[in-house]
């Protein structure tokens, strides 16, 4: 064996030793990271678990001192009472209807606009795109006063359209679609143009099927955003039977007084639909938010 190979061998074993050392260290650090994460996760879960615990206690035991996770027995009575005495089913329907319309219209309008911005070289498209992009910076809260005045003059206060219309203009949706369209190669479309297909057919038959991931992301984000929107429906709706879930829930605390099992049951029932949507479409939501937030 030459000295050279010996030297090489020793460095190799050194490196191996260093590698296993590093591995051990990494494993130990991962252990610490895991422990910290478990503690943090508990801080995020305990409020929810406490709400569930309270909701399944008998009403008389929710305000027992000392505070305890246990109860003499557990019951679903509070959920039944909530569904029977509040307008929660109506609020579900109102939220579902308005959010679905907002979501669908946003997808159609925003994808069409983004298609033109990405693929149709029309005059003035850069200016128009910048005007729309600037809208991302406009804080929604400051528009509530003039929007309300507009709704009043259009007789749309306390109507579904009053909830829906101001939520249709989502510049961020145009932005997400444009990002997506910009990433697709031109060849496909050129072939179709050669064949004499109209722009609308190209949009509808080539781009929309290709854009399924972007459609899913925008549709779900728009749906969740409008489902959770509090301020606008809170201002524009006054009748109980037109309220959306977040607005209706805000009235519950005062009307229930100190019946905490019922309040928690209502909160949980109000939160469950979005949580289900979230668990089913987590991937699209995560990708959509990352696309909108990071590439800006």
């Amino acid at each position: 064996m030459s000295t050279q190979t010996v030297a090489r061998e020793t460095t190799r074993t050194h490196e191996q030793a260093r590698a296993t050392d590093a591995q051990k260290k990494r494993r130990a650090k991962n252990g610490v990271a895991f422990a910290v994460l478990v503690v943090m996760a508990l801080m995020w879960l305990i409020p929810i678990l406490w709400a569930i615990d309270t909701a399944i206690k008998p009403e008389s035991e929710t305000t027992a001192i000392p505070v305890s996770w246990l109860a003499s027995h557990f019951t679903l009575q509070a959920f039944a009472t909530t569904l029977a005495t509040t307008s929660l089913p109506t609020w579900y329907f109102n939220s579902l209807l308005t959010s679905a319309i907002i979501s669908i219209v946003t997808v159609v309008f925003a994808s069409m606009a983004a298609f033109a911005f990405s693929r149709v070289p029309f005059a003035g498209r850069n200016i128009l795109f910048w005007i729309i992009l600037a809208g991302i910076m406009v804080p929604g809260q400051i528009l509530i006063i003039p929007l309300f005045a507009m709704m009043q003059s259009m007789n749309l206060v306390d109507t579904y359209w009053g909830i829906i219309l101001p939520q249709l203009a989502s510049p961020i949706a145009v932005f997400i679609f444009k990002q997506f369209f910009d990433g697709i190669p031109y060849e496909l479309e050129e072939a179709a143009l050669m064949d004499g297909a109209s722009r609308f057919r190209i949009y509808w038959q080539i781009w929309m099927p290709l854009a399924r991931p972007a459609i899913a992301a925008v549709a779900i984000l728009a749906f969740v955003a409008s489902w959770n929107n509090f301020l606008w429906p809170f201002i524009v709706i006054t009748s109980n039977n037109l309220m959306t879930v977040p607005v209706g829930l805000a009235t519950v605390q005062t009307s229930f007084g100190i019946r905490y099992a019922q309040i928690m049951a209502t909160a949980l029932l109000g939160g469950v639909p979005v949580l289900i949507v979230f668990l089913f479409f987590q991937r699209q939501i995560v990708q959509g938010i990352a696309a909108a937030g990071l590439k800006g």
Binding site: L37, W44, Q141, I142, I144, Q253, M264
Partner: protein, 315 residues
């Protein structure tokens, strides 16, 4: 070349030019057609209210009268600046922004850093930290009001078990805004967490491996690799976060039982605008308040965007 062929060629080019003009015209029409539906909605419900709000802010506009009455010029703004409630709500908003923004960024970054390690249950942790962000504000507030409840609330219960005095989470003027911040972090940090996690997953693992072979420890790698590479992500998060924090309203308003908190300690500028617009119906005055907030947000975000632009040039 004969005259005839030259003439023929000239005719052909003019026909081509005509056809080209025709096509350009059709392209313009098609492009505008695609943009129009969105643009109408955008002009009606975003551009128009911005202009209408500005106009309203110069008038003694009331909701009942449905329109402009007396022109006040800058009267609403003058009145606003001499109203101590306005300055107080502005102070609350700035205090909230200054405390909550670093907290939301650091906690989001820390959680992402931990979840990004090769640990079991990664997907579970990601879901847990992000899930609260998708809850409606009313659900969050109902649950936290119950946790903060004096006497039989969970937090007071734990404090009693530890023989600590109970805290006036919602009733003490010095604590109420802190409670709003706690709720805000719990509710919204998942968003920053997610953006950071997505950013970290774009950093190639080789870079960290090479650095650790060179003897760089975890802190050094975070300091010299993760943080600099996520510079742009951080600026982006900072911009979004400051804009969001300056618009504080719903969680504070609901947490205080549709009120201003003890000694108005949680009344934000948006709440001040809301109360003037929708409880005392001084819409013109409230519009002036909206415009002040708009200008503040605009200045802050232009400053931050120029920071982002500089980072991009340097990158």
């Amino acid at each position: 070349m004969s005259d005839v062929t030259m003439q023929a060629a000239r005719v052909e080019t003019s026909a081509q030019a005509r056809r080209g003009k025709d096509r350009r015209w059709r392209t313009n029409l098609a492009g505008l057609g695609f943009v129009l539906p969105f643009f109408i909605v955008y002009a009606l419900f975003l551009i128009w209210p911005i202009l209408l709000g500005l106009r309203m802010s110069f008038f003694n506009w009331t909701l009942s009268g449905l329109g402009s009455s007396d022109f006040l010029g800058l009267g609403n703004y003058q009145q606003l600046f001499s109203d101590s409630d306005f300055w107080q709500s502005l102070g609350v908003t700035l205090l909230f922004t200054v405390i909550s923004t670093p907290l939301l960024i650091i906690v989001g970054f820390g959680l992402a850093l931990l979840v990004n390690r090769a640990i079991p249950g990664q997907a579970f942790f990601r879901t847990v930290f992000f899930a609260s962000y998708v809850l409606p504000v009313s659900v969050v507030v109902l649950i936290w009001s119950w946790l903060f409840q004096p006497g039989f609330g969970l937090i007071d219960g734990v404090l009693t078990d530890l023989h600590l005095p109970s805290v006036g989470w919602l009733s003490s003027p010095n604590i109420a805004l802190i409670s709003v911040i706690i709720v805000t972090v719990w509710w919204t940090v998942g968003y920053n967490f997610l953006l950071y996690l997505a950013g970290m997953q774009q950093i190639s693992p080789e870079m960290n491996e090479a650095a650790s072979l060179d003897g760089a420890g975890s802190w050094a790698r975070i300091r010299w690799i993760t943080i600099p590479l996520l510079n742009r992500t951080t600026t982006m998060i900072l911009i979004l976060q400051v804009i969001a924090s300056l618009q504080l309203f719903q969680q504070a308003y609901l947490l205080m039982g549709s009120g201003d908190g003890p000694n108005n300690s949680t009344r934000s500028i948006v709440q001040y605008i809301y109360e003037n617009g929708f409880t005392t119906f001084r819409v013109g005055f409230a519009s002036a308040g909206s415009y002040i907030l708009f200008v503040i947000i605009l200045i802050v975000s232009i400053g931050q965007f120029s920071l982002l632009a500089r980072q991009r040039r340097n990158a």
